[in-house]
Symmetry: C2
Subunit: 343 residues, 2 copies
Amino acid sequence: MSQSDSTNRQIVLAKRPEGAPDGETLRLQTGDIPKPGGGEMLLRTVYLSLDPYMRGRMSAAKSYATPVEIGGVMTGQVVAEVMQSDCDGFKAGDFMLAPSGWQDYAVSDGTQVLNLGNEPQNPSWSLGILGMPGYTAYAGLLQIGEPKPGETVVVAAASGPVGATVGQIAKIKGCRVVGIAGGPEKCAHVVETLGFDACIDHRAEDFADQLAAVCPEGIDVYFENVGGKVLYGVLPLLNPFARMPVCGMVAWYNLTGLPDGPDHGPQILSTILRMKVKVQGFIIFDSFPISLYQEFAREMTGWLEDGKIQYKEQMVDGLEAAPDALYDLLEGRNFGKMVVKVG
Amino acid sequence: MSQSDSTNRQIVLAKRPEGAPDGETLRLQTGDIPKPGGGEMLLRTVYLSLDPYMRGRMSAAKSYATPVEIGGVMTGQVVAEVMQSDCDGFKAGDFMLAPSGWQDYAVSDGTQVLNLGNEPQNPSWSLGILGMPGYTAYAGLLQIGEPKPGETVVVAAASGPVGATVGQIAKIKGCRVVGIAGGPEKCAHVVETLGFDACIDHRAEDFADQLAAVCPEGIDVYFENVGGKVLYGVLPLLNPFARMPVCGMVAWYNLTGLPDGPDHGPQILSTILRMKVKVQGFIIFDSFPISLYQEFAREMTGWLEDGKIQYKEQMVDGLEAAPDALYDLLEGRNFGKMVVKVG
């Protein structure tokens, strides 16, 4: 069943997952298309962004954002077309970046919505390189990582939309950049297309040794978005005064409790102490002022126009394919920024 | 055997400890008093400072400072009297703050030495509240912790020279201050004499629950100098944008490898991420400019004169008692800043 002008398909949270989400976690349901009231507009979803943070929204645990309710529509950023509008500054035919969630239609009063105009170039890019993932890479690397020319920057999930952007910006800033990715195809892409100096496959038995070999001068910035054995391989290589922006930890999102030992707590803390490391978590729209977003949008647009930044999307067809696509993403079976073409 | 004018007693590293140091780790030896050459002076040790960092110097592991060699004199800061001098700006009878180590006599050319004058008030204080421990507290709390009025600051090892100072400065800055210490006597001192708002005994079975109860609005700054279960009790209470200066981890100094699980790595990283925490290690004389030390000395002297800061020393008699005193310190069996009266 594809998008229609008579019903509204929604994907809702059916059950909170214990560990990895599965076929019982999300449910497709259909209903009436909502009717906008005075001062509101009706949005039709064109593209839906899939991102690792969505795993967190499925859990009831205390986090930085409110969890999705059981039976509630899954949250998510979309690019949507305005179908009808009684909302100042928004007219039918305009495209919007909006937090509509996993559904065909939504009503908005224009808050938390960005107007992309009626003929946007590459509208799906506002879900990726020109949107939240690109801005996350830019702000986390430059504001917390503070890379200096000649330093070594290591980026996990290097073929993903955040990691790929972190590494390319670090190259622009004159750093030596080492990526970490899953499998030879992704590693080849990271070096050949994205221009990293090296890329290590985290599935290799001797991953930690390989990482050490390509970081002969240690690591000055580690952009953390996976956790797990990648983090534990990085720790012994950190240089004095290293910086570690913490953006995600996808390897650990499905944990239901503390994993078996040994306890790496002492290793983490003693590295921070001995090497005078700064480790700082951030949530992109909480941690930085809006003025930085404007600077990012201007600078990134320039880099894309000049061909200094390459960007790869993986387009998934149809809203009904979104759950399995998200599960693939959480297991690292995506390649590039995952976007669902909804309508 | 006490200090004499005919021999030089030295305490040297006999054997690197595996785990906790013991009777085989350090050895007392005697030798001739060294003779100063041209441009040098002879120093006689009066007070020797004992500090947790000394455990690290006993190990060969990569650290922020060079380990003591086997057979080498243990490093340490002392207050010493100049016996004879051919060194410009230093004359017999002056008192010095010097890195002479665990021995009666040393020769110096004046580098890394601070002249305290010939009639210093409370000369041993320059090993504590007016020296490295006081400066560590001041710089770590104010530069990394950045406490704001009304925030909750938690300090481990609260009766020790660093922790006691951190908490008292935080009170001066208008914070609610909670200490953690070992045993009812230390806890009473922390609240009644140092003026903390509360102090929890980390030996209590229900330590984590007690800590949560006295931090009803969460924790904004945790000054980390112990690690272990204190850290793991603090993590669930951290507020968004909390700061954690990492100054030490005495609970873990004797580890010979990673302890048994569970692995708290995911808990540490997910707290940093979700709560946007900044965790930053520092080594006092590496991490901050000398201008900050001058600011500290001026401000701390004023606070002491005004009675806003209380300071407690535990004086140990005789160089031969220093090894056991250090082992007590590493096990938390000290009470206040530990200083050895050598001569």
